[in-house]
């Protein structure tokens, strides 16, 4: 199966290694990964800031690029995926033709963990996904469910199952686990104090859990939390779920 990868702007500019891990995990799950030419950003920063004209301009471009491809679109971010699945259609509610295109793209979008879990379920032998589950060395993983993933897209089970499938990783729970980490896109800059206070609460809970690794499906949250951990001098490793799965399958 060919899947179209929308790497997202953050992965593209800040963490290409996450994109590579995403691709390898998908390939092991039996997908052929294609990267459409000309993808940039989903436009969510403009949309969430209330700048609809600007958001529409970006969305029109993205829908154009993705609309010219076939097959599932995989997005390693709950938040960008939610933008494509829910908000783009809303942005074009006064433009029936564009709304229709937006809806067609929306219907093809899968967040990374969703698609991987789907593939694992579809494959008779889970090992075919390359999820040999060998490394990493014993680790205690705190999973942070990002808000747009769990509440926007309703994806709660899949990432936890995938973390659970790594036999050397022990999932640890922490206080107020489902609560927002305070990232919120531009919120983290415009309302920096509030964002930081929310982050501190989240990091304190993660530190208290005894986790040595923090895993999530949204790079925005991860960059925010990792930057906060680093400022605190904490030695918790921060990974996108794809990196954990890739590490587990790499000999």
């Amino acid at each position: 199966m060919i899947v179209q990868l929308f790497p997202t702007c953050l992965v593209n500019e800040f963490r290409p290694d996450v994109g590579m891990a995403v691709a390898r995990v998908l390939e092991r799950a039996g997908c052929e990964v294609a990267l459409p030419e000309g993808l940039t950003c989903c436009g969510q920063p403009a949309f969430n800031a209330g700048f609809h004209d600007e958001a529409r301009q970006v969305a029109r471009h993205t829908i154009g690029v993705l609309g010219a491809t076939d097959g599932p679109i995989v997005i390693p971010s709950g938040s960008c995926c939610d933008m494509l699945v829910h908000q783009n259609v809303e942005l074009f509610r006064d433009d029936a033709a564009m709304a229709d295109k937006a809806r067609k793209v929306a219907d093809r979008c899968r967040e990374f963990s969703q698609l991987v879990a789907e593939r694992l379920r579809a494959n008779a032998a889970p090992a075919a996904a390359g999820a040999a589950r060998r490394a990493p060395a014993s680790t205690r993983v705190a999973y942070h469910p990002s808000c747009h993933l769990q509440r926007g897209l309703g994806v709660t089970r899949e990432p936890r199952e995938l973390v659970g499938s790594v036999t050397t990783a022990e999932s640890v729970k922490f206080d107020e686990q489902d609560e927002c980490c305070g990232f919120g896109g531009l919120f983290s800059i415009k309302n920096a104090e509030i964002s930081a206070a929310m982050m501190d609460r989240k990091l304190a809970a993660i530190e208290a859990s005894g986790a040595d690794r923090l895993v999530s499906c949204d790079l925005g949250c991860l960059m925010h939390l990792e930057g906060g951990l680093r400022r605190r001098g904490a030695a918790i490793k921060v990974q996108h779920l794809a990196e954990l799965l890739d590490e587990a399958a790499t000999p």
């Binding site: 403009a46 969430n48 700048f51 983290s188 929310m198 930057g227 906060g228």
Partner: protein, 467 residues
């Protein structure tokens, strides 16, 4: 003072965090437990939502029918376009009847209209009889939560306040503190010649006013004084008694985690012949104060709010900054929508931005209000109607221009990456310039990659095709 400044103060206030942490988490847990006791919670929610939306769609007719029913039951009905009009109506009723003392049970709409000040200026004494509101009044404070007005105070602070204002021995024992208040309030109930309440619900089909309280004060102020005035926003209607039943189940569980509020008072008309208690006059003041304007726009849905406060307890921003930071009567996610709606977006353009859009409010809302959607709609209106910071405006315009031109975007991003990398040490940036400094004040910023994912991917593909 701006929201940002108030929020900063709140974040630095240690007492506030002790107080908020003690209560909001507790409220959340109690709510979850209580909801588990309601069969088909989601079905009840859906029915309640449908009923509320139905009333809002036909609000004009519903209000007319409600008025007919009220009049038929012997109540007097007043209409107020604004908060000031509402206050004037209440003041006039009081002065005409020679009222000296008003005993109030908790009413958010009277906070919204600043009724107490208006009555006091007219020479009428007002006593709040809800324990929390009584303490607010003692401290010349403002409520900071829809159902728990003094959630921002610790019991130690309340103990010191009562010691100072009531000349009682200091204690932080809540039972004793409640007893101090009760002893004084008892007398007030008996002396008051007017009782003033809000209305949790107004039932269209028979003109019933429904009040819920946990302290019984609502029942006292609607039965002992000779006049009862109920102030209500025009959106407070529910169609039928059967609907009311569903709303009561949802409200108690969502607000305080109870199956039923301790006192549920249903009022239809003043005292009738043969009744041994009850007011001689019942007045209902129906208040618009910006609501009909909200009804016509993108945030009409928020008029379905039943003021349970669940979204406050669930909101990580509310839990971080408390209610006063929101700067008006209604705090939290609902306040971030209602306040701009009632008072004007130009005066509160920051409030819709006071959210990470995490959606926890939408999850807990008993009538399934899509609060994040409305926050986004207001942010858009704010962009259209109010001045925006230049850096943001220009930045997003440039961003949209580039992000729809991939080649240009790629080049621009490679420059941004190079620039940021030049400011990094050990792969991390400690102090980013411009708007990004908001980030690095509290966290490190990872330096961007030397080569983008796209470039790496194309290189990998080229290698693969060669082998």
């Amino acid at each position: 003072m701006t929201f940002a400044a108030r929020a900063r103060d709140a974040i630095g206030n240690h007492q506030l965090h002790v107080a908020l942490d003690r209560t909001t988490a507790q409220f959340g847990l109690r709510r979850s437990a209580a909801i588990a006791t309601l069969d088909q919670f989601d079905a009840v929610r859906n029915q309640a939502r449908a009923a509320k939306m139905q009333v809002l769609r036909t609000l004009g007719e519903s209000l007319q029918e409600f008025e007919r029913q009220l009049l038929a039951s012997g109540a007097r009905v007043h209409w107020a376009q604004t908060g000031e009009e509402a206050n004037q109506i209440v003041v006039d009723i009081a002065l005409k009847a020679g009222v000296r003392r008003v005993a109030k049970s908790k009413s958010m709409v009277s906070e919204e209209t600043h009724l107490n000040g208006a009555l006091e200026r007219a020479g009428v004494t007002v006593i709040e009889t809800d324990l929390g509101e009584y303490i607010v009044q003692l401290g010349n404070d403002r409520p900071s939560h829809i159902i728990a007005p003094i959630v921002h105070l610790t019991r130690e602070q309340v103990g010191r306040l009562m010691q100072e204002k009531l000349a009682v021995p200091y204690t932080d024992d809540t039972q004793t503190l409640a007893r101090y208040a009760r002893e004084r309030l008892r007398e007030e109930f008996l002396q008051a010649d007017m009782g003033l309440t809000g209305a949790n619900f107004g039932v269209v089909e028979n003109g019933t006013i429904c009040l819920v309280t946990n302290e019984g004060n609502g029942r006292m102020v609607t039965t002992l004084p000779r006049i009862h005035v109920a102030m209500m926003g025009i959106e407070k209607l529910v169609p039928t008694m059967a609907d009311l039943d569903r709303f009561l189940k949802l409200l108690a569980r969502s607000a305080t985690g109870q199956k039923l509020t301790t006192y549920t008072t249903l009022i239809r008309g003043p005292k009738r012949g043969g009744d041994d208690c009850g007011p001689e006059e019942l007045h209902v003041v129906l208040i618009d104060n910006g609501r009909s304007q909200m009804l016509a726009g993108e945030i009409a849905e928020i008029l379905g709010c039943i003021r349970c406060g669940a979204c406050l307890n669930a909101c990580p921003v509310y839990r971080t900054v408390g209610g006063h930071a929101y700067g008006d009567t209604y705090p939290g996610p609902v306040g971030a929508i209602v306040t701009p709606g009632l008072r004007g977006l130009d005066k509160h353009a920051e409030l819709p931005g006071a959210s990470s859009l995490c959606g926890a409010c939408r999850d807990v809302c008993p009538v399934r209000l899509d609060i994040p959607r409305m926050l986004l709609a207001l942010r858009h209106q704010a962009v259209e109607q109010t001045p925006q910071p230049l850096a943001l405006r220009v930045g997003l315009k440039a961003f949209a221009h580039l992000a729809s031109r991939p080649r240009l975007y790629r080049t621009a991003m490679s420059w941004v990456r190079r620039f940021l990398r030049s400011r990094a040490s050990d792969g991390w940036i400690h102090d980013a310039p411009g708007m990004a400094s908001g980030w690095t004040r509290f966290r490190e910023l990872r330096a961007p990659a030397a080569q983008s994912f796209e470039a790496q991917w194309r290189a990998r593909a080229a290698t693969k095709s060669r082998t």
